[in-house]
Symmetry: C2
Subunit: 453 residues, 2 copies
């Protein structure tokens, strides 16, 4: 295939997708239903209505293949979408590879990551229902930042519970959320019962996404004008992110190319879902394409976890979802890719991985940073530590192909930039980052905490 | 004029300008020659060759209207150019204005500012001449970051003297320069005689661009493999930046519009030159267009300085240039827009301002931050404190037009993003930034230091 030699592949604004793609229409095995945490029976919409907008609940269970993007959301998407697809000429040269490497750059969004793709519709659907305030959790801070901006643009108040270790590592994340009018506090906090309980158990806890979710859900439940908003994991979040992969398909067509391998880092799964799911119909139709999710060895839910029902949070306030999980009690070590420190994953990604349609690999922290450095020094862009996991795997695949004499077309999602993660790079450059693994003993103990169904 | 309603106006890669525009071909009054600081006689190329590449010296005095961009530089420009021109729909709505407001977004460059436009050719022209190492100064850090990346891409070593107050305000600027392989130390340093002298005079000095320039020039002069590189002020730097305004002209044509007002913040003058100079031929041909440079009230070289020969640095190592200046002894207070803390300005901008072809206004720090907040909350992008000065004036012009019932087309240069300036926003949000003015007494004293010609 002769790929045209552009550096930036720009899709015209008028060709921006008008629909989100819903993979639930095409999954060979449907999702196991979410379960009510009290009754352990399949969820009904009324279980979710206390904290989610009705339209989002409908999207959660929809099996319509395409769901229209509202005009108000499209208008705001246009500030940064379609995002560019880059040909990584500099990185290819640095690797001396014949592979064609592309990256979809979601860091172009004003908040610096793909998270705005779901923050805008989530705030919009809550707004039209009369909700005045949204609570959420954030790991690395990318989601909290996106929701703060979306809240400001649509006029909703935003309250962000930020995992404490990230709050400390990324001091300016709070600043940017406040600049956008959001409120951000470190979790566990003393504002909620779940936070106080976590602090009692372990006053020195670095926090986890699971605890922060408990706090945000508890806050939302306690006020009628307030809903809760999640930046990953759920089906409607993955749905909103599919605009990424749909654009990639059109952009690859523009240069007469088609990917052999598509790569995304994978924590809760939203950015990997975003770039990978629109390729599922091709794969089901027999296309030879590999879709790889990359997780950190410190928190390897797909590669070392089990496929089982588990809670999304630490204290069991959320529905039980069937997903690859390390157990909701699992506390990953404080790696710098805070956005990947989640015990579970997206039910959609989990099911498709279980069915062999997606692959998963785990990579260590320092090799990820090394990949990020090579990328920054050859392509210029400083990647977020999360996205660096995808870069590591893209580089590894290119090097493997070089060794075997193959020429591959490799696309990865550069889900965010790392301009607010320079503290982490500083630690890496000073030799102070570790190749942390999980402890097998902790994992065993945490898996014992899985709810009995 | 009916402007098309696009949000992002994207120029196709193949329409990226192939030439820099040299306004010296069109200036009604030619530039006064630079003077040798020892002999006070007009500079000859051999005065400059110890620290500048020959090709850059030739550009400095060229009167050719168009100078070709080398293929190697064009290739790297394509990583981020043409940069988008945005229609500020969100800001227009927030201001309730009928004016059409556009911003050229140079923060799209991987280093986050327009500075890479000149860093790439400067490193390239030094490289082909066999130079191995470049020294420079940096204020806000944008220039040092750009030169560090350009150095890495072309394989040259980079040494950055960073004004101490900015070094402290922006702790992660050093990190990003090091990530790109550059070396960065606070100025005044003890590495150079000029640095030691400045420290002796005032051990508590916040530093100035003028002192940092002295250090970088002294370092470059002392080694034969090393040249010096300047990120603003000089003619060849303004030349490289004209790619900005040339793109803007084409982009405005794409939406059938033409600006009534073009605005850029102005310290050394390179980003203002970049967006404004390509409009000079139109203005000379009778077009009714206003070109406004915006400086901080804390360092108002055009609005309060004198048009005279002065040194570019603090101790008189650089050539004397005829420019608007506050005197090379002037120490501006430590405002957060570190890139605008320069006592002088570009000779080209100065001459055109003197000739009435450009206008200048000065704005205060807090109103600039207020404009930046409104912009971030309506357009999403967090602007650099420097660029916020341009936003302030764009907003003021739109509000004036609203009052007088006029409808204007306003374009400003968003020269960089502020993701590394969140410390400054933090201070502003905490009410800890001041509307600093210069002291008339200091200015008088500093003007007495002007060299006698």
């Amino acid at each position: 295939m002769s790929a045209k030699n552009l550096t930036k592949i720009i899709l015209p604004e008028e060709l921006m997708p008008k629909y989100w793609y819903n993979v639930q229409a095409d999954m060979p095995n449907p999702l196991a239903p979410g379960l009510n945490p009290q009754t352990k029976k399949p969820l009904t919409p009324s279980d979710l209505e206390p904290i989610f907008a009705r339209e989002l609940i409908a999207q959660e269970v929809s099996t319509e293949r395409f769901i229209e993007i509202p005009a108000e959301v499209k208008e705001l998407y246009k500030q940064y979408r379609p995002s560019p697809l880059y040909r990584a000429h500099g990185l290819e040269k640095a690797l001396d590879t014949s592979c064609r490497i592309y990256y979809k750059y979601e860091g172009i969004s004003p908040v610096g990551s793909h998270k705005l793709n779901s923050a805008l519709p989530q705030v919009f659907f809550n707004k039209i229902q009369g909700i005045k305030r949204l609570t959420t959790e954030t790991g690395a801070g990318q989601w909290g930042t996106a929701l703060s901006l979306a809240g400001k643009l649509f006029g909703l108040e935003i309250m962000v519970y930020m995992v404490k270790v990230s709050f400390t590592q990324k001091p300016y994340r709070r600043s940017i959320m406040e600049l956008y009018g959001g409120k951000c506090i470190p979790s566990p906090s003393t504002l909620t019962a779940s936070g106080r309980e976590a602090l009692e158990k372990n006053p020195e806890t670095p926090g986890t996404l699971a605890i922060a979710i408990s706090e945000a859900v508890e806050d939302a439940t306690s006020r009628t004008d307030t809903n809760y908003s999640l930046g990953s994991v759920l089906n409607h979040v993955c749905l909103h992110q599919t605009i990424i992969g749909q654009e990639v398909k059109k952009q690859m067509e523009m240069v007469d190319d088609y990917p052999d391998i598509v790569i995304g880092c994978c924590g809760g799964g939203s950015n990997f879902a975003g770039i990978a799911l629109p390729f599922i119909p091709d794969k089901l139709a027999g296309k030879n394409i590999r879709l790889i999710g990359v997780e950190p060895t410190a928190c390897p839910s797909m590669t070392k976890g089990v496929f089982a029902y588990d809670y999304g949070d630490s204290v069991g306030l959320t529905p039980m979802l069937k997903m690859y999980t390390l157990g909701h009690d699992f506390t990953p070590s404080g790696i710098h890719a805070g956005g990947l420190r989640y015990h579970g994953g997206s039910p959609i990604i989990s099911q498709l991985y279980h069915d062999g349609l997606l692959e998963a690999v785990a990579v260590k922290q320092n090799p990820s940073f090394a990949a990020a450095m090579l990328f920054a020094q050859s392509e210029g862009i400083v990647p977020a530590p999360e996205s660096s996991h995808a870069i590591r795997t893209a580089i590894d695949e290119a090097l493997k192909a070089k060794e075997s004499g193959e020429v591959k077309s490799i696309v990865f999602n550069l889900s965010g930039h790392g301009q607010l993660d320079l503290y982490s790079y500083d630690r890496y450059l000073s030799g102070e980052t570790e190749d942390v693994e999980f402890s097998q003993k902790d994992l065993q103990k945490s898996l014992e905490s899985l709810p009995k169904i």
